[in-house]
Amino acid sequence: MSHNSQNIVEAMAGAKLSADPALQAFRNEVRQFCRANLPQDIRRKVILNQHLDKQDYVRWQKILAAKGWMAGHWPEQYGGCNWSRVQRWVFEWEIYRAGAPWLMPFGVTYVCPVIYTFGSEAQRKKYLTPTLNTDIWWAQGYSEPDAGSDLAKVKTRAVRAGDHYIVNGQKTWTTMAHWADMMFALVRTSTENKPQQGISFLLIDLHSPGITVRPIETIDGGHHVNEVFLENVQVPVENLVGDEGAGWTYAKFLLGNERLLAADVGKAIRLFSQLQGLLEVTHKRGKPLLADAVWQSRLADLEVRILSLQALGFELMAQAESGSEPGPEASVLKIVGTELMQDIAAHSIELLAHHGLAFQAEALAPGWDGELTGPSFAPGAISEYLHGRASTIYGGSSEIQRNILAKAVLEL
């Protein structure tokens, strides 16, 4: 029997976990907290998919930090709450459903667990608490022009010279690097042996001389990602995390931590609710489209997918709770979650076609006070759709995820 075989009992274990009273109480607590503490102006921007400025993110993240929830999944000794994976998942589900901004994962979710697991005591002291308080903003230096899905091909060189590494090369698609203070990067410290073995995990101060951050405008008209050029950048040796040459292992650890969270149910529910709102205000032959049989059927299909994703998420969470680490099986959540989100967004585009697809992208900028021609959601919905095309590309494209599943789960 291959690993494909699905036992319905495991699905039922997930369903029971979803109804666990302690988890329900936690969910309600997060929901109440968001109602009371998520600033209305920030929420409105998020719901309308407008561009937030850095201060919006910082303000919200400091609210979470004050509650102790900025990194609830961390061990208590580092300022977390020891949340289980399912608690962390439900937390994100609720905050995104409520319309909270994207919780920047680069610091609290990506690099810090690598630091407290593999880093030095000095690194823990220097980075963990400031990251919790959003006093340090992180960027992820992984992709390069010739190393995308084939990440082991990173070429950015770090050469040891005394107590420094001299770093030369280029990173790209670097999210929010224009706001970041630090970048954790995969750099090549050796060209011998297998490509994976010569990679090291380096923390680079983005204010260092020799660094140039250049914006890449994306198809949604926004500025989220950048190119980062490194020219003879001096990085202190103490900024190496763990062992030289072990960077690939840490990168994979980080990926494993993240896979389970890829099922972004909260945002899917929010976008789905928004779609229903749009259908209510859009009329065809004098009736709201929400009453249209074709649209009702489309909505049902989307909600069925949301409910299925939730069920599958709880099933994998239940396995994680019981100690059996979900491995590559969790790639399914990324594929299903991102494709669902894209389809919900695409339905908004189909709906906006009734309004003629005017795209006033300028309306998304902070402080814009011009006049909109269509519904207030329209510019944000189009932008969300366009920006959302990236979700099946980053973090291992859907094609790569399918390769992983074919090999590791189906043993093909």
């Binding site: 494909n4 319905i8 997930g14 029971k16 009702q296 069925v304 099933e315 399918r402 093909l412």
Partner: protein
């Protein structure tokens, strides 16, 4: 509420699947489907001996009280093993009707006999004109001396011709309440037209012409419509579980095939287009299984959103079933068209199940968006 824990269910699942793997194979299925009853009566007694027939029967009636959870485990295994016995007709529909609508005397009369394998049951509720709708009962019940007289027609009664007792729904007058009646096989005035569904399972249309039912065989509930609705949801979930077993098994044999079938000098499973197709099939099967298991738990625990979850299970499983069934045939190439392989039988089972107890479109209507609750976070 299921009396069984998740660990109990795991053990149960292992034991049922092992028994089926040892005792059943596709050749045996082809033979049993071909005989008059459509199943092997000797199997039924073995299932009784294994304790399967009492899995969901309440404990006071000699069962295990495992609820929908236990039935889902059994049906998943039955789907994987392509079993032909009237498990769904007897355990989910017939015994379920008696449990939900019968009084304790009626339960004691019939349920221990189900556990022991002495009787099989069938539910005769559907009428052709009503289609999947549950409230279209036109079959009439009239009070007579010592009992009732039933007249009307019933459609698509699964395993109707072999059941020892039929549970028949009928209405008192054109607008009166619906009741359920236990009708003995061979009762005078009962006519059957038997046929097979797409996947070979036997069904029957009934004509009832003044069929007599004694007073004590009217199931006690004054209005059975809630019970019928609950039965329908259980049966929809059980048929999804059966489909999930079939999907998983079909993916397994397809994986086996693409790993051994060689063309162009290599196993065809090395081609990325084949790999990605199988990944899609596997994902669809996982989603369907996850939502079906959730629906089973929702029914056992009377969750407020159980109706939506059952509908979601039915829609997802129907979509996944057709996709996996068709692609199973496709990836087997010419062999997928051969009747001697189980591939086509899985496709037929999956299509049949997707049509039973409300098709996908019927269940999509459960999501009534004009009175929806999910959108509380909308921007005003």
């Amino acid at each position: 509420m299921s009396a069984l824990t998740i660990d109990d269910l795991r053990t149960l699942s292992t034991s049922i699947n092992r028994f089926i793997a040892e005792q059943h194979n596709f050749e045996k299925r082809r033979q049993t489907v071909a005989n008059d009853t459509g199943f092997d009566v000797a199997d039924w007694q073995r299932y009784a001996d294994m304790g399967w027939l009492g899995l969901a029967i309440p404990e006071p009636m000699g069962g295990l009280g495992g609820g929908m959870a236990a039935l889902a485990v059994l049906m998943q295994a039955a789907g994987a093993g392509l079993l032909t016995s009237p498990l769904l007709a007897t355990l989910v529909l017939g015994a379920g009707a008696i449990e939900l609508a019968g009084d304790s005397t009626q339960q004691e009369t019939f349920l221990p006999a189900v556990v022991a394998g002495e009787i099989t049951l069938a539910l005769a509720h559907r009428e052709a004109a009503a289609g999947h709708d549950l409230d279209g009962t036109r079959c009439l019940a009239k009070k007579s001396t010592d009992g009732y007289r039933l007249s009307g027609k019933k459609n698509l009664v699964l395993h109707g011709a072999t059941a020892s007792h039929l549970v028949v729904s009928a209405r008192y007058g054109e607008r009166g309440p619906v009741n359920l009646f236990m009708v003995d096989a061979g009762a005078p005035g009962l006519g059957l037209n038997t046929y097979r569904l797409l996947d070979g399972r036997p069904a029957a249309d009934l004509v009832l012409d003044n069929v007599f039912v004694p007073e004590h065989n009217r199931l006690a509930t004054e209005d059975a419509s809630a019970a019928i609705d609950q039965l329908h949801q259980r049966a929809a979930t059980a048929s999804c579980a059966e489909a999930c077993g079939a999907m998983s098994a079909l993916i397994d044999i397809t994986l086996e095939y693409v790993k051994t079938r060689r063309q162009f000098g290599t196993a065809i499973g090395h081609f990325q287009v084949i790999q990605h197709r199988l990944v899609e099939m596997s994902i669809a099967s996982q989603e369907a299984t996850a939502i079906t298991g959730t629906a089973a738990i929702a029914l056992d625990n009377a969750w407020p959103d159980s109706r939506r979850l059952v509908a979601a299970a039915k829609v997802r499983t129907s979509q996944a079933g057709r996709f996996i069934g068709e692609q199973g045939v496709q990836l087997h190439g010419g062999m997928g068209m051969a009747e001697e392989l189980p591939v086509g039988t899985y496709l037929k089972l999956l299509l049949t199940n997707s049509s039973l107890f409300g098709d996908a479109d019927w269940h999509r209507e459960v999501f009534d968006y004009q009175n929806s609750t999910i959108n509380e976070e909308k921007v005003a």
